[in-house]
Assembly symmetry: C2
Homo-oligomer: 562 residues x 2
Amino acid sequence: MCAKPYRSRACSTGSNLSLAIVTPPLKIALAQINPTVGAIDANAQLIRQIMSSVGDDVDLLIFPECALPGYPAQDLLLNPRFIADTQSALQSLAAGTGPTAVIVGTVREEEGHLYNSAALLQNGAVAGYRDKTLLPTYDVFDEARYFTPASDNRPLPVDLPSGKRIVLGLHICEDMWDDRYAAQVCRQLTEAGAELLVNISASPFRDGIAQERHAIMIQKAADGNVPYLYCNLVGGQDELVFDGRSALVSPDGRVVKQAAAFDSGLLHITLPDDLAGSGQVQPPQREVDLMAAIELGIADYFGKTGHARAIIGLSGGIDSSLVAALAAAALGPAHVTGVIMPSVYNAAASAEDAAKVAGALGIEALQLPIESLRLETMQQLAPHFDGSRPGVAEENLQARLRGLLLMALANKRGALVLSTGNKTEIALGYATLYGDMAGALGPIGDLTKPDVYALARAVNERAGKPVIPDSVLTKTPSAELRENQTDPFDYDHIAPLVEQLISDPDSAQRLIAQGYDRKEITSLSKMITAAEYKRRQAALTIRVTGKAFGAGRRYPVVNAYE
Amino acid sequence: MCAKPYRSRACSTGSNLSLAIVTPPLKIALAQINPTVGAIDANAQLIRQIMSSVGDDVDLLIFPECALPGYPAQDLLLNPRFIADTQSALQSLAAGTGPTAVIVGTVREEEGHLYNSAALLQNGAVAGYRDKTLLPTYDVFDEARYFTPASDNRPLPVDLPSGKRIVLGLHICEDMWDDRYAAQVCRQLTEAGAELLVNISASPFRDGIAQERHAIMIQKAADGNVPYLYCNLVGGQDELVFDGRSALVSPDGRVVKQAAAFDSGLLHITLPDDLAGSGQVQPPQREVDLMAAIELGIADYFGKTGHARAIIGLSGGIDSSLVAALAAAALGPAHVTGVIMPSVYNAAASAEDAAKVAGALGIEALQLPIESLRLETMQQLAPHFDGSRPGVAEENLQARLRGLLLMALANKRGALVLSTGNKTEIALGYATLYGDMAGALGPIGDLTKPDVYALARAVNERAGKPVIPDSVLTKTPSAELRENQTDPFDYDHIAPLVEQLISDPDSAQRLIAQGYDRKEITSLSKMITAAEYKRRQAALTIRVTGKAFGAGRRYPVVNAYE
């Protein structure tokens, strides 16, 4: 039956499918792989292994967008040798193909133009290309910097090993997200006779993306009355985490089969048989997704840069406790070190909580009190501080001494420091540059403070025990950089406001119109703008929302707009 | 006479000019202004003042590209309120106009599309727009992220106060740099009857740009056989410095009049009279240009963010000496503090040289030895360093202690730290993150090591005395972070290689083909790639070459390409 009749259309469940799909059954594998940007040979080897493992068992084997060069390769794409190397690796892959039709995401140059392309490899050769039409150039995406849009987006006829011919509506990632564009690629493809829509993607995770993708795929499948195949990358690349979730959507609007989220693997599909499936795809669980995204982001950043060990400053607060828990899950507890660095301003309970977290996670805990260093630094600076009242200078230097000690340990051990700032703090500039902002990667830099708590609870739930103790979950947040300091924010109140101000540049006026205090909204907006210079030097932040700090949000530092 | 006959064409010197230009003479002013990004009201006020000072004395008053919102406004352009505010400021400017035709660079929204636009204001109203056709989306430019290309680039007829009508070939910045595009905007304009080509620009300085602009303008003027008017922004904005040099080019291919470089001002032009001028425009002097660009970049970063005081770690080396000299020139010596922070590894001569530089520049010099702090830090870390041999950890912590002290002084005094790394070091990662890389702005981060020496000599020449002493110019470069350390590079040999590897991604193969040692080139390439993670957290670097680190060079951190 039609579970989600997005259009008023008779249930078809494959009844209108072309003969090529119906008989004999069409066997497809979606190869949801985790390539590394720039590792052309290793990526080719990965593709070759899967080709070889699949053998002649499938008619059609599909790899994601830019599976060969990795995505996003950024300015590597401006290097003619990089393009030539990619093209030559593709030829070599093609040489190893037999009757199975293999679709591989790649890049190709023709007459001085570069295309983001899907190559069809078969019987020892490259049998054709289809290029990407819609080039996302917003948020984290810069495709107009590199690529020329497709000039040909006709469907691609493919001769199957069975002797049948199937007409593929092959398109690439953004080509299905056509809301903001004039061109409607999927409709053009099905109107021109595509029997199967095939999308290869490098679509990064963000909170809610799985549901949005489902809705689009369902709409496109129903619109064209054809099955929709979706093959997405998986893995972490700098700020981005690709979540996989390759899928088959039936023409009657059901996600009938889906690959794992945040893990590589092959999704085998038989058409039309699988279209009759129940479509019971697990709905995504928000906190589980966020945890998995961050953990994959950490694991791949370390793995792909050749690092194994993480160093984290453990304050006993919620942020560093959560980062330690996520890092322990991503890298293994034996590869994570928590460093406890109290000064005179830290409550004894803080160090105790930090030690408890380390103990519960099974990570190494080092004690490195900074009080003597703080005193020595203050003494050195005293002649130049001229008896002025203690302020931000005195507070920041404590955070910077901690950053210095963490970096020294990391340098000594070949480890990487994880910074522990959350999105709300980083937005408001409530963080010390070169201090607690120091680090190679900021795992929770795209989580609001309330989401930090939500994930901490999810971590405990997954562990089946309070690895992050109640005392950490319930204490009043504090940077503990001066006597009796607590964070000057009611996070439950301001975090959602800050999130709106970040994700929607026009939200200030709307919030005021909704009755929020103009002075408060203006003050928060000003703090966000004023902290831009800090964020320019922040660690890479793993992106898990639609608007993260980093490449997707480009504000001038010199910015007089209010 | 034809000084530079770029085309085989009879000398015309205005002989083919339209009646509107010839009689009565056409009086034009190019307003080379220095607006601030986001400061819509202040920018409007600046424009209004110039409109009012010019009064009815000119027929045509021209302001640069995006003079009203500032350039580049980046993601401020995604805020509908920012666009509305800009449009409303433009209406208000228009309301103040009389018979003088005023061209103002702005942005405008129409039917959901945003345009980078030139508005014609006259007789109290906006009389028309011409939008930018070619939207640069490479290097530091992201215009495809924001703007839609012009759909109409016909010439714009303007009724002059004299009653005559002149047909303007109005176009915007990139529209004249059409080498890489299919559209040839200037030719379209002149073929459609433009009597005068008018380009409003926000064209940032880079070494050699003045000569390139001259060549293009000469070509366009000659090609259309019309005078070419060029009105460029001036001022610093984050990494970019706009150099002005607004100009008039005659149809016979001579730059007959040019406004100052790196300074705001009005360039008055009378046509056709000025076309008969000698065209003796001062050729740019490389080191003078580089100094001026960096000094304007410093001055505007401080001025536009509301800071006055700079703090610089003075090592006695060439890099920090040059930064101190440039900062003293940009901000005034009374606003610059040099901090001398020796450890046991610093030669006595280094501190003496640093003090000499401070004395010669007339800047404050503070002494803040770090030896006791270094010892205390080493003692704290000893239990965790396990008797391992001293290495990068021990070296980096010295640089980080210095960074910490500089930041503490800056925090206490409301000053900004200037980082002192040069491009060659930053390329190779020979710099300490959170140490000597700490700072709000990196004035010489786009200067190769040899250019640092060249500018130091130019500074001395300008001063008429050795403000940077010979001993600094001649000593062997050293980070002085361990016993008898000197920099492990022959900078004269490697700096040009590194510069090529940065500016041309394909140069590695070419250099090897030219006979350079494959091992050396490969090693340098790997160092450049491996240091990407540091550069992501580097201070903003003032861009003075065609390929600077920062927004114009976007490489993945996780990058396995070799």
